[in-house]
Each structure stands twice: as C-alpha cells, then as structure tokens.
Amino acid sequence: MSKEYADASDDEMSPELLKMLESTVFAAGKFVVPSDDLRPQTLEAARDYGADRKGTYRFAQFILAVFVFVTISLPIFGRLASWRDSVASPTSLQMYEIAMKKNVGMDWGLFEAFSELRQSQASRFGQTNRKNVQD
C-alpha cells in the first residue's frame, strides 16, 4: 500500500511524486458516497419547504386582499352612512318625540307626524313618481 511514498521526504516534492500522489488521491474520489436515505429525505424536505412557502404566500395574499378591501370599503361605507340619514325613515322613538311636540294628544300627534312624514317623502320622491306616471 502506497509503497511509492516510502521515498517521500520532508523536503520539496519532486514533480513525478506530486503527479503520482495526485493520481492516487484522484482515484479515491468516488470512494465515499451519500447514504441511500439522503435522496428521499432531501426531496421530501424540499417538498415540505415548498408547501410551507406556498402556504405562507397564500396567507400573505389573503392578508393583502383584506387590507385592500378594508382600505377601499371604509370611505364607501362612510359615504353610504351620510346618504342613509337623508333617505331613512324615522324610528318609532323619533315619531313618538315628534308626536309629543304637537301638544294635541298622543293619537292626533302621531297622525300629524305620519302625515308630515308622508308629505316629506312624497316631496322627496315626487319627481320619480311623476315620471313613472307619465311613462
């Protein structure tokens, strides 16, 4: 075994000896190999890593979509809320308060309050109604 190197000294190596040593080392290059388990383990780890990344990417996309939706919808809901005040009917409590202000008793007060409400609604939607009648 390696008897060729019995002549090797501590001094500078000769080119021939160096070449021989290089070829000996080169030949031993494929002596060590990966274990049989390494391939399936690596591929499985890579698949898991890819799946995790995909999951994280989808979650990030979902969060981004929610953020965009909230950012866009908040001003829209604000605008709708301002319109609601002008088109919504009064609540029963508001009707009761209006009826009490009439100072003519509860029944007549409610009657007059509803009459005023109907008139205001008619004036608000009158234009649309007239158009419908003409059609």
Binding site: S2, D10, F31
Partner: protein, 188 residues
C-alpha cells in the same frame, strides 16, 4: 470527469428547472451534485452524517431561491460555497470533543474492479483526515473538482497564492502520511 465550466452549465440548467418547476425538479440537481457535495462537506465536518445534513440543508435552500443559483456567474463554485457555509455552521453547532480520526462514519463504495485499490482509497481518506480542514478542502477542490487556484480562492474567499501554498503543504503532508502508513503496513 467533466470540466468545471461544463459542470457549472449543467448545475445552472438544473437550477433553472427548479426555478420553473419548484421542488419537484430538485432530483435532477441532487443526482448531479450530491456525491461531490457530500465528499466536499465530509472534509469540513469530518463526519458523514453532518455532511449529509449540510448538503440537505443547502439543497432545500436552493429550492427556496433557485434563481439565485441559476443567475450566479459560476453556479458550481457558488453551490460549493453554500455547502461550505452550511458545513461550517453545523461544525460550530456540533463541536465535538474528539475529531473522528478513523473512517467508521463514512459510507464507502467501490466497484468490483477496484477491490484491490480499496486499501489505497482508505489510506488516502485517512491521510486527508489527518490534514487541517483548511488544507484538505483545497486538496478536494484541486484534485476532485479540478479547480484552478483562482477558482479555489473564489470558493474559499482567500487569495489564490494562499490556496496554492495550502495545496503545496497539504500534498507534502499527504505524502508523509501515506509514507508512514506504508511503513506501518510493512511492519505488520
């Protein structure tokens, strides 16, 4: 053996496949490089199991960003540097009290016509393990990867002159180590 440049091109092609198809295409890069990467990593970690951990971690990282590898100027040296970094991390984390000085941790293979040479192979690997890591990795890159000193310097982030001197010292020590093994064998 393929030249480093053509091997680099093949590594680049495999990395491009991974970038396009994801983890499913890793098998191509694995089959192309695993033996060489494990061989290189073993010289750093001095333990096959740790070397395989380093190679696995590196290849999984490649799946995470394959375009980084495919766009590298020299993908093969780049991949070797990744494995080296991963091996050094594992080496620091698992600092052992005693470095393995025999070959019991290694999984070896030799074809039928190489049976006679097995003793020689073992002697070479034992001699490599007797070298400091800084020298043995230069030997691996110079002889097995057929890198120039400039390419070795690129992988190891050292000047080419340093790589050359480390190689010279390593070869002298290897010759002496093999000589002492030959003397021991003669006495036995």
């Amino acid at each position: 053996m393929t030249t480093p440049a053509s091997f680099s091109d093949r590594v680049r092609e495999s990395a491009q496949c991974i970038a396009e198809s994801g983890a499913a295409a890793l098998s191509g890069l694995y089959d192309l490089t695993s033996m060489r990467l494990v061989r290189f990593s073993v010289t750093i970690t001095r333990h096959q199991h740790d070397a395989e951990d380093a190679v696995q971690a590196t290849l999984v990282r490649v799946v995470g960003n394959a375009s980084l590898l495919s766009r590298a100027d020299n993908p093969w040296p780049y991949l070797l540097r990744m494995v080296r970094n991963e091996s050094l991390v594992i080496l620091r984390r698992k600092r052992r009290g005693a470095i393995v000085s025999n070959l019991t941790d290694l999984l070896t293979h030799r074809s039928v016509d190489e049976v006679e040479q097995e003793e020689s192979f073992r002697a070479v690997w034992l001699a490599l393990r007797s070298l400091p890591m800084q020298q043995s990795e230069v030997v691996v890159l110079k002889i097995w990867e057929e890198f120039t000193f400039a390419q070795i310097a690129e992988v190891l982030c050292i000047p080419p002159a340093t790589a050359a001197s480390r190689y010279r010292y390593a070869m002298q020590k290897l010759a002496l180590e093999l000589r002492s093994q030959a003397v021991e064998a003669t006495h036995e």
